[in-house]
């Protein structure tokens, strides 16, 4: 962890009942860095992203983004649990793309993408639409602008979700297994879009994925999780080709056998 880190986890722990999900976890991510999180099911990867998105609170420890403490704020000289207003100010820089897309079924594709820019960022309808059209073009869905989300394939829905996330100009993009609900072919479409995003923007990316080729292409660093701890951290070439930890070796072997 260095001073320059945009995101820091410091001694973060989380239990669900008796189940220890994160165990005194500390790590940092630099601005613009692309980090891939891997690890067996239940090792706490989703929990980390959800915490950054302020959807799950840690039991102890601190999480900061650009120096701002996510879940605590100063009030009258003391640190108190953050209120909605503070949470909204830290959320401004971060957004998340979900495994199940979560497009709003009550809005057509274009409005899914313009709704937050208009009502959260305060853009004019025209500005928001112009930007949404650009983004939908980029994800290859310019012709689906007027479609209902329910009428799109999973891969198309996920690409809209990516456009929707980028429309609020995030500094940090969280991606939680965004292709694992998709057939391989559709997954490939989505990964291509994300490669584009990685290439053409400087957004910080935290990405949970088991698509190793993709992780190799885009990430600066891979973190291997096990039982709520990081057991190995290295650039993809190193971690994938010469894993040090026995658990990592076993996990990668099982991934390869599967594909």
């Amino acid at each position: 962890m260095t001073r320059a880190d945009q995101i820091t986890f410091d001694g973060v722990s989380k239990k669900f009942g008796e189940n220890v999900v994160l165990d005194d976890l500390s790590f940092g991510v630099a601005a613009g860095e692309r980090v891939t999180l891997i690890g067996p099911s239940g090792s706490g990867k989703t929990t980390i992203l959800r915490m950054l998105m302020t959807l799950t609170e840690p039991d102890s420890g601190t999480i900061t983004v650009d120096g701002d403490n996510l879940f605590q704020e100063m009030r009258n000289g003391t640190l108190v649990p953050a209120r909605e207003q503070h949470l909204r100010s830290v959320r401004r820089k971060i957004t998340m793309v979900f495994q199940q897309y979560n497009l709003f079924p009550n809005m057509r594709v274009l409005r899914n993408v313009t709704e937050a820019p208009v009502h959260v960022l305060g853009l004019s309808q025209d500005e928001a639409e112009a930007r949404a059209r650009e983004l939908l073009e980029m994800v290859g869905l310019a012709d689906k602008i007027d479609a209902h989300p329910a009428h799109l394939s999973g891969g198309q829905q996920q690409r809209v979700a990516i456009a929707r996330a980028l429309a609020i100009r995030p500094e940090v993009l969280l991606l939680d297994e965004v292709t694992s609900a998709l057939d391989p072919e559709l997954a490939a479409e989505v990964l291509d879009v994300l490669r584009d995003v990685a290439k053409s923007t400087s957004v910080t990316m935290l990405c949970v994925t088991h698509a190793m080729k993709f992780a190799r292409d885009i990430s600066d660093r891979v973190l291997m999780f096990n039982e709520g701890r990081i057991i190995e951290s290295a650039p993809p070439a190193e971690l994938f080709d010469a894993p040090q930890h026995e658990r990592t070796q076993r996990f990668l072997r099982s991934l390869r056998e599967e594909s």
Binding site: R92, I94, F104, A116, H119, V120, H151, A165
Partner: protein
């Protein structure tokens, strides 16, 4: 049966439709106010809404109506009879509607709210732009059933001398002496209104489903559920 009696029935029909219409609007208001209040973060607000829904689901509509018409004057308030009727009916139906609103809001998947949070919507925007538009679609079919319940309940006002369809039916019965035919005719009349309301609600249901890009149920009458 003389033309005058037919005119009476027509007058009664209008009063019944008025009661149903106003009752539905006011009942919808109570339903949303109480249903959303039950989900409030504030205990007091939740408590008041809970007392309202539990209370009016335990109080007979007819007793509420009698109270508004015959007891309230004892406290120095005299309500317009039509208003008293609408109020009693809508307080009752609103308590059931509140449960519909609450259930529908809770049925919106958590992922929708999380996605709205990830886009940094405010709490109110999440409700107004994401949750409610989806919840309303789920409310339409049960609201359709409640509308029929409301229509049926309007007949109670005839017991406090409001001249609705049932009241005028009693007059016709007295005038013609044909008891069986009159009451059967009344039942058919209510049945026809209910049928029309059901068809209208089915059309609303179709539009609502289409707003989420969902396929619509075929048939305007088949498979009504309770």
């Amino acid at each position: 049966m003389s033309g005058g009696l037919w005119l009476r029935l027509l007058d009664g029909l209008l009063v019944t439709l008025q009661l149903t219409g106003y009752g539905a609007v006011l009942g919808l208001l109570f339903a949303f106010a109480a249903g959303l209040a039950r989900l409030s973060r504030h205990r007091v607000v939740r408590g008041i809404a809970f007392a309202y829904t539990e209370g009016f689901r335990g109080l007979p509509a007819l007793v509420v109506l009698f109270w508004l018409v015959f007891a309230l004057p004892g406290l120095g308030f005299q309500l317009n009879p039509l208003f008293a009727g609408v109020l009693a009916l809508s307080l009752n139906i609103g308590a059931y509607g509140a449960e519909v609103v609450r259930g529908a809001v809770l049925s919106v998947p958590a992922g929708q709210i999380e996605a709205a949070t990830a886009l940094n919507f405010t709490r109110w925007q999440r409700m107004r732009r994401v949750v409610l538009p989806q919840a309303v679609v789920a409310m339409v079919p049960p609201f359709g059933n409640l509308l029929i319940e409301l229509l049926k309940a309007t007949a109670l006002v005839s017991l406090v001398y409001l001249q609705d369809l049932t009241f005028q039916g009693q007059i016709v019965r007295a005038a013609t002496g044909n008891t069986a035919m009159t009451f059967f005719g009344l039942l058919v009349g209510y049945g026809v209104i209910a049928l029309i309301l059901t068809i209208l609600m089915r059309l609303v249901e179709r539009r609502a489903a289409a707003s989420l890009g969902r396929a619509v149920r075929p048939g305007l009458l088949s498979g009504r559920t309770s």
